[in-house]
């Protein structure tokens, strides 16, 4: 342990945890035992005459120096472990992660985008995290890794899966109403299966490139987290049959009815707080700068058909 802790991030966390736990439990047991022992041994009935002891320099030195050494060793193990977290191994497989209220979007090097993170087993995975709105926290408890996704910043994180399987991915930094539901899955595939999936998706992506398809945009941009396509109201109103309908909205403090025409749909995308649909919270983030003009046209065209 002199050279510090090494291994994969999850193993490091467990080793450091066990070390601190062993020391902490020993200290707690010692303090509690002495406290109870003295209280019983020197209870007034048995020890009516107390003795004034003002202190002991050697004891003070002892219980300053030993705890200092102990906590310094904790610092040291924590730090050496942390170095591993911060050093992305060479040949890592890189995935960009975009966080937004309230979903995750993963973008692979070949351009493929998914809402679940799919990775090969046994290979270091290098994530580049950012956010398009507020701060989120990317957290895989099973691999004991976490990093905030901060707007305007790209934060790296890496991990490596030893076994295939599916694991929870959670948002750890409070991000608003649906924070507790900003979950997805990490799926670890065997190498070959992953390669097959990756190539297939890549081909599909090439074919669809340049064609902004409404349904794909709704998925990729995270719209479906809040808006359903089947008529059920969720955090926001459903998109089904929206076009051409009369919508009761609150504009400023005034309630009014507006016709959901093209202009309304575009306004709702770019300035969502101008007209707020009645009975829904004013929490839709503006898509200004997040959608191109072309994408907006495509979305509006698609919504007309819903």
């Amino acid at each position: 342990m002199i050279g510090g802790v090494t291994g994969l991030p999850d193993q490091i966390v467990e080793d450091v945890f066990l070390f601190i736990a062993a020391v902490s439990v020993s200290i707690l047991v010692l303090i509690t035992f002495l406290m109870i022992f003295f209280t019983i041994r020197y209870r007034r009935k048995r020890n009516p005459k107390p003795e004034d002891i003002r202190g002991n320099l050697w004891l003070e030195i002892l219980w300053t120096v030993i705890p200092t050494l102990l906590v310094l060793s904790m610092f040291y193990y924590g730090w050496t472990g942390f170095r591993t977290f911060k050093k992305v191994p060479e040949g890592a497989f890189t995935v960009k992660v975009m966080a937004r209220q309230w979903s995750w979007l993963f973008e692979y090097e070949n351009g493929v985008k998914t809402d679940e993170l799919i990775v090969p087993v046994g290979r270091p995975i290098h994530l580049l995290l950012t956010s398009q709105d507020v701060i989120h926290g990317f957290y895989i408890p099973a691999f004991r890794v976490k990093q905030d996704a901060v707007p305007g910043m790209v934060n790296p994180l890496w991990f490596q899966a030893k076994d295939v399987g599916a694991f929870d991915v959670l948002c750890a930094e409070y991000c608003g109403q649906q924070h507790a539901y900003m979950l997805t899955r990490l799926k670890v595939y065997p190498e070959e299966e992953f390669n097959r999936w990756y190539e297939e998706k890549g081909k599909q992506f090439e074919q669809e490139k340049g064609l902004p398809r409404g349904s794909r945009l709704l998925q990729e941009k995270g719209c479906l987290v809040c808006h359903s396509l089947d008529g059920t109201p969720r955090i926001g109103p459903t998109l089904k049959g929206l076009f051409g309908k009369t919508v009761p909205v609150i504009t400023g403090d005034r309630e009014r009815n507006v016709l959901a025409d093209e202009a309304y749909l575009k306004r709702s995308l770019l300035e969502p707080n101008t007209d707020i649909v009645k009975d829904f919270p004013p929490i839709m983030p503006s898509q200004k700068g997040l959608l191109t003009g072309e994408e907006i046209d495509e979305l509006v065209r698609y919504m007309k058909e819903l």
Binding site: N47, E60, G81, E173
Partner: protein
Amino acid sequence: MSSFYEDEGRFRGILGWIFSTDHKRIGLLYLLAIFAFSAVGVLLGFLMRLELMAPGPTIMRPQTYNAIFTLHGVIMIFLFVIPGIPAIFGNFFLPIQVGARDVAFPRINLLSWWIYMAGAGLAVLSLFTGGGPVDTGWTFYVPYSLRTPVNVPLAVFAVFILGFSSILTGINFVTTTHQLRAPGMTWFRLPLFVWAIYATAWVQILATPVVGITLLLTLMERLAGVGIFDPLKGGDPILYQHLFWIYSHPAVYIMILPAMGIISEIIPVFAQRTIFGYKAIAFSSLAIAVVGSFVWGHHMFVSGQSDLASIIFSLLTFLVAVPSGVKVFNWVSTLYKGSIEVSPPLLFALTFIFLFSIGGLTGLFQGALATNVHLHDTYWVVGHFHYVIFGGTGFAIFGALHYWFPKMFGRRVGKKIPYLAWALLFVGFNTLYFPMLILGWEGMPRRYYDYLPQFHSLHLVSTVGSWILIAGLILMFGHLIYSLFRGEKERLENPWGGATLEWQIPSPPPRENFAEIPRVERGPYEFR
């Protein structure tokens, strides 16, 4: 001599209270307001635990839950624990313990209570105006607090106002300790409670302005879009976190240092022997106040701050653990060869040592960089700080209430019920908060309205714990209120055999405490 209850001063009735400059009356004004708010905080905590009893929606919607955990934090931190001990017990006892008739600036003292009430009033007002109750968490992190439609500006302004109350109280206590000590009351004859409040007061004076500025900037950002924190306008959300924690980490020491002072008073009295390592305890308060001002970055290990910053903050965080440990070792040694009577105040003080130790030791896991990555923003942190703040400061307040009750109110507290209440509190507390540590290690994030099925059983245990804990609180406070009106009159000046100055004057004390300013000839824990 008539007590400060009978001797009203310039005004009569309720005006004799809310316009009184008597430090004891102001202490009691704070006591009433602070415990009223803390009761609301407890109720909100109870509702959160009910919601989390089972996965899925239980009794409320997500938006309500988010507002409730925010209010629970804002009330408990800004209205209860930060002012708490200094404003109630500091006001009441610091002037008496140093041998003064009042604090240095009695009118400023009254002003700080009014400012506290104004800030609290604005916080209440923010619930019903603008976009409704704040849902940002008590930390008001940007950019979320800039975007959420709820009434952030008024809530932030309320906290800004509350800060002035804290600063003024701090200035008063520092000046009182320097200027108004009785003849012979040398620095090393000061009770350790005074040392603790003194160290705290410096943190209040020096750190609070930083949060004031931060909150003002947040207001400007929110109302005028100036672009200091918003990355879309060239601002930096990490900068906000630095500024916020430059105050809010030292604020943790504002919460715990005075509690340590109380423990240092109670233990020697009930062991009837002098305290072990007086100077070590006194100086460790100062060390905590100083080093604790430079550890704020440990709240930001996964935020994206630089690795070097994280390493330095981790190192300093570990160093600040040492003086707290020194205090615990000295307290335990004070029991050695004492003549110990486990009265309710001592029982609460010993419980403080046990729970605070768990709180402090669980903090080591968060201070270490590698483990922090996993534990940050999980229930581990929630468990940890409740062990420190509730198990520590909360139980110290319970101890102080039972210890100083006869002096403050001139009534005795019966002995049996406090033991029963203690048992409920101790069992309830650990059933409520220990499962949170396990939940955190298993990966349950905090501030979650709902959770995955694997976390259900521990959440259920925790909720049951909250019921036991609340039963204990009701029993204890019910009994204290009963004792206030029906308790046996305390005719003794010194029922516990204490050696500090408050035990040398009548219970309750007269208006200006001392008929004649005493000449101090011995230390605060010389019982023979």
